[in-house]
Symmetry: D2
Subunit: 339 residues, 4 copies
């Protein structure tokens, strides 16, 4: 940590900061520049917040040197991590894993049809929402446990794994019983009770970036899960809030290579939520793979016009098939394999 | 709801949309413009998402006419709402209510000293965190129930009410037992399980805007609480995420008059979190009151340099006293009364 | 244009709006919904601002139906436009055109070396800044006309076209004399005097999106150029301002397919400025091509550590060669050809 | 400047950076922490960009210590600066200066009426646009020189000074002839040719923050003007681009006290552009004054419904009078005087 004193800091103020550094068990390292004194904090700064020093008179600002998410960092775990699923599908490494299915499980018939479409295109992980966090209390909130049972049954018919969202700590055991991957949604990225619960669930977790969260915060959210001993965490970029109004969110494509540099956890892109429009899903899915993503999360509906949620951003069977062909060719051109 | 068809929409596509409108129990109202056909949906559109129509071929975009948060809207409840606390303090109406105290309850001594400072300045609601949602899993996470008991005991000594954050649905009964106002933090604005739980708690709720949430979404989150029959909801602007890097967040001061127009729920400003710096708290608190806020949430610490969290943005006793004087004079200049 | 009246609008207020609509030569089309009256404005609304009606009492909001940038729209010019350069290179259509070279022309030796590197990799358009808009008045501001002459001479040796930035209307004739493509930088996207000047320059123009500009505004800026009779306009996404701090800007990858839908003008991606870091340039360049971009703008420097500007985001010769190989394979996988 | 090396930086990489520091005339100061080496650059770093070092292998990031805008900084000029106008009005110091008038000069009659309204309310500086930068090329672009002459003539009748926008360097002499304050609009904040031109105009300048510009960049833009020897520069916060869609821009109220800390230049708030809606102008104007602004820029139109631009955000005469009363009472409550 580097503490920059302001231009008028007195020797007494500098001493007070130095004392505080020592009292926390660190060494202080003074450097007097032409117009500012800078104090280095020597030691593992991670457990200490910048705010500890920002409150001192004479301090202009505090700069962290070490990333606070240690377990999530590539420094700590240099080799790419790979999440292996029971059916042999892998998230991370050479593969590009496509997880696809409807936004919400609506009925047996709808899910059967969607599963059949994605399985036919080589998909090995079925997505579908049973517990749905909805912006309005008056919207369809999902089928709950009944939806979970449908997911499990129909995925099994195709040898697929299941990924589905869990929205509250109490539901974790139930969801973990039926799904291979627990999804933590963007709205819950900083729901720390939930992060702890999925951290001790024994299941791989797909953690979505909050729509107002920095990449640093995403890594710290992952750290909550990793700190429970669960190493199977994948990170998902699904679009952030910006001023641009022609799409629902702005997919932060830079996030893909930035995360791949900072961490060895697999990185997934969700073009459906990031754009909100079916016609944009394939181009953004291709961009995600080209940027180095290890997986994609895609909404597919047999009849988007009849969907109870997210119809506008769901691919129909034909569009999904076309996209899968493109993704395969792109992955090959980059020496990877998509399925 | 208004459905704008694209320039090349066919009569068949227009018919399909019209049929869907009728099948949902609405009337359709066609209007052929110079280059686009526009279809009006006549009826109470609130239960229906725009996405229902966006998925149809030939649809360019869908514009909502009615705000989806009905109970929260000023159309539904025109008169300003006032939350009355057992000790006689009021949030809403002519008063400007200051709620102040430490970020986190750290110890009996710290809380006693802070409570004494704020009470001496006329404050009638003591704030303090017992359950703390922290970005890093390695930061101080609060004293939990022990903190709640301290809050209750020390607030009682001064005849103050207590406001404190609740972060998970299971904790609601415990927190509701000790606090007069339950705070839902920015990270949990879209934690719908929690919103439902505080909605049925029987306690007033202060709902903070998510740092990436629009005002529309804030109102819809309030709607989750109101829909449980709890009408005592106040909204809190605490800064949003923007590109500006000199402050931790950007306080959206426009939000104050915009919310006062859209809803009759009381509006509170939190200048401590919005700025992250003690020296900016008083100017932004003044701005909030001048813009029409009904309350302020202020972090005060007897010794900010020793705080376990948020020291940099906590006012010390002298700065708090000065700010209170300014707030009182400003409120009077606008025909209100601050305490 | 659709005018939504508020819930309490009086018949007199509705009449006043209707009268104004008629006085502007349009027809008014009333639609009374369950809680709001909506007035449609029938006619070509483009020359009229929404603000004309927003100022009327009783008006809640105004929704535009037609995009204000007519000449730039795909409705007006459905077929993809292709910009043909004198040396046979083409921007738009089946080709993916890479424009590469140093951020700033610093010396003959630097430019010769950079030109040799990019030409060897098949690049047909040399980029390089002669007039540099710099955030600080104390930074290197470019070689001016001397830089232009170097660009021209060295590009000619390799049969390359030149693209370079013009920053003020007076310089347009000089820059147009030496360059085949005039670049309008992000800071000048809304410098309308400059847009008019390049519009009448007789040269193709690469228009960069302002870092705080919406895609609608980018199209309206292009409209200023098109309205001067210059149809050779390409649009460039180069990153926008968001809250994310790990990269200098956030490349809005959604912008690529959104623009391709809205307009037939070619779309270019600039991964160098969008990321600010050399190690991120290749992944983002790949993403741009995968999303459908028609061109790339890439900073290359023979010795990035010695660059007078933008060294951190400049590729060295090896990294550039590797990137070009990847781009070619990706373009082929999508049925295009990159050079 | 502080250079943070990454965890795997080699001694050779550290040496290369150290050599470069020395070759630029600085001293290097090494500090080996537990996991990173940090190199301090001792000397006046302002003329050197962070990018000079970011391009070196082994460098993780570079942190500036000194603000690059020296002349604009409060370190350099501690005392509040006051701009004195020929008619005795003052921007800065104890006064709160209101500058008001129509968005655009439309006709003699309109301007006479507007001037009469603002003068009657004690306003001493008349605003009005003669050269208008408009998003669409098809919108009203202002009366040009004719508008300037009207402004001058009508302001003189009331003893008012004139503030008006200049949009291109060639127009500076003409505008400087007729106006006491030259306004540089948000779109032109980074139009450096224009900044240099107003810097040598001999007139005070009101510099508006770009809608995507950080406060650091605003200060560096001011530095361009100050570096020409013009010390009469005021900074204007007029709203930035954020994800919030209920207002046209988000007024960054934090900017007021942040700027007052960083610089001694006067700070002005423009609530008309920041909100885009007349009903929000007064609350935001009050907030600006309460936060410490030295001036306000307000759009007033005798008949907003007939305005050729910005009618929706223009106050009518009654609303303006009410606002002026509130502003005066607020200023007094804070020990200042508004007019």
């Amino acid at each position: 940590m580097i503490i920059v004193m302001n231009a008028h800091a007195t020797p007494g103020e500098i001493d007070a900061v130095t004392e505080r550094i020592k009292s926390l068990g660190f060494q202080a390292h003074l450097s007097k520049g032409s117009e500012r004194t800078v104090i280095g904090v020597i030691g593992d700064e991670r457990p200490v917040g910048a705010e500890v020093f920002e409150a001192f008179p004479g301090v202009e600002r505090v700069v962290r040197i070490l990333h606070p998410a240690k377990l999530a960092s590539r420094d700590f775990h240099p080799a790419d991590r790979v999440i292996e699923l029971p059916n042999g599908a892998r998230l991370g490494g050479k593969d590009v894993l496509v997880m696809a299915g409807p936004c919400a499980v609506e009925s047996r018939e709808q899910l059967e049809r969607a599963a059949e479409v994605v399985a036919r295109n080589g998909v090995r992980v079925l997505r579908g929402g049973a517990f749905k966090p909805r912006t309005s209390p008056y919207s369809f909130q999902g089928l709950g446990e009944k939806g979970l049972l449908l997911l499990r049954e129909i995925a099994d018919e195709h040898g697929m794994a299941v990924i589905t969202e869990v929205i509250t700590p109490e539901d974790v055991p139930l969801v973990a019983k039926h799904a291979q991957i627990l999804q933590v949604g963007a709205r819950n990225m900083a729901n720390y009770s939930l992060l702890k619960a999925v951290g001790s669930s024994g299941r791989p977790v797909l953690l979505k970036r909050g729509l107002g969260a920095t990449l640093d915060e995403l890594l710290q959210a992952a750290e909550y899960i990793l700190a429970q001993g669960n190493e199977d965490v994948a990170l998902c970029e699904r679009g952030i809030r910006t001023f641009e109004r022609s799409t629902r969110f702005t997919l932060d494509i830079n996030a893909v290579p930035v995360l791949k540099n900072l961490t060895s956890l697999p990185v997934v892109v969700d073009p459906s939520h990031a754009t909100g429009k079916a016609e944009l899903v394939a181009p953004i899915a291709r961009a995600g793979v080209a940027a180095g993503a290890d997986g994609l999360l895609i909404e597919v509906h047999p009849h988007p016009q009849e969907a109870l949620s997210d119809g506008a951003q769901s691919l129909d069977p034909d569009a999904f098939g076309t996209m899968m062909g493109e993704i395969r060719r792109l992955a090959e051109a980059l020496g990877r394999h998509a399925a």
